[in-house]
Amino acid sequence: MVTVISIMTAGIVIGLFVRNMNGFLKIMDRLIILAIFLLLFFLGVAVGVNEMIIQNLGSYGLIALLLTLGGVAGSVVLALLVYRGFFKRER
């Protein structure tokens, strides 16, 4: 897992040097979306062959929904406090 962060940091450093090359970013975006398609396909395959995950898809969905509601609620409430404390009065 250290590998993941090291690889990405190396990428950032290389990116800083190649930023003047035209069209480079577009190629990267293409490669990124391609890699993501592939990886989600593989994730799907791993899920499909795993009987236990297939049987539990419903409860995973429910857990996901609850976590989303919790995360959104937490960030929205804190955003209200920060808005009132630091942003609103300037207007």
Partner: protein
């Protein structure tokens, strides 16, 4: 939008292929997905480094604007930790990893699926897609009752692209730049935070 449908399409195609054993077993027996992940992280890094717009937006930002992505991170983490106390089958660490997707479902789900387990990857995928959809739906309500930062907070990493139009419409264009900034910072943070949470 076209891409998000494609992304879900690839995922579902994978499930069907795996479930009905339509694929050569080599896909499962090799580490090919791990190497694709490494390649992905390398490309993501290059894209971050090479993106002039990203760096100029961040460089021009005043200190106060950094409060917004910070708010999203801390608020989301507090929310998912509290939620995880009510769910027996998921640990605090796993909940934090799912929350650290901030709506960036494609990257966070494959990363979590690879670093932890497929089941959590699925949860991350569904949870973060839902975050995007919820934001699209409730932005008018949030803007009215929770202040102009609330839709930006709800959108997380998506506030720089997918949810930006609806957010801009309800909080005004002077807050649109904050939405873009917050989305950019969170998008960069996702791979670091997810990896960090699952490793430490």
């Amino acid at each position: 939008m076209k891409n998000s449908l494609l992304i879900v399409g690839f995922f579902i195609a994978g499930i069907l292929g795996g479930y009905y054993s339509l694929l050569p077993s080599i896909i499962l027996e090799t580490d090919i997905s791990l190497y694709v992940l490494y390649a992905l992280m390398f490309f993501v890094g290059i894209a971050i480094g090479a993106n002039r717009k990203t760096w100029s937006v961040i460089r021009k930002a005043r200190i106060r604007i950094f409060l917004v992505p910070l708010t999203v991170v801390l608020g989301t983490f507090a929310g998912v930790v509290i939620t995880s106390f009510f769910i027996n089958s998921i640990s605090v660490r796993e909940s934090l990893a799912v929350g650290a997707g901030f709506g960036y479902y494609s990257l966070s789900s494959v990363l979590i699926g690879q670093l932890r387990c497929e089941a959590l990857g699925v949860i991350a995928l569904v949870s973060n897609i839902t975050r995007e959809i919820i934001t699209l739906l409730v932005t008018p309500f949030l803007a009215q009752y929770f202040g102009k930062l609330a839709p930006i907070a709800s959108g997380g990493a998506t506030s720089m692209d997918v949810t930006l139009p609806v957010i801009t419409r309800y909080v005004g264009s002077e807050y649109a730049i904050i939405a873009v900034f917050s989305g950019i910072v969170l998008t960069i943070l996702v791979p670091f935070l997810v990896t960090f949470i699952l490793t430490v």
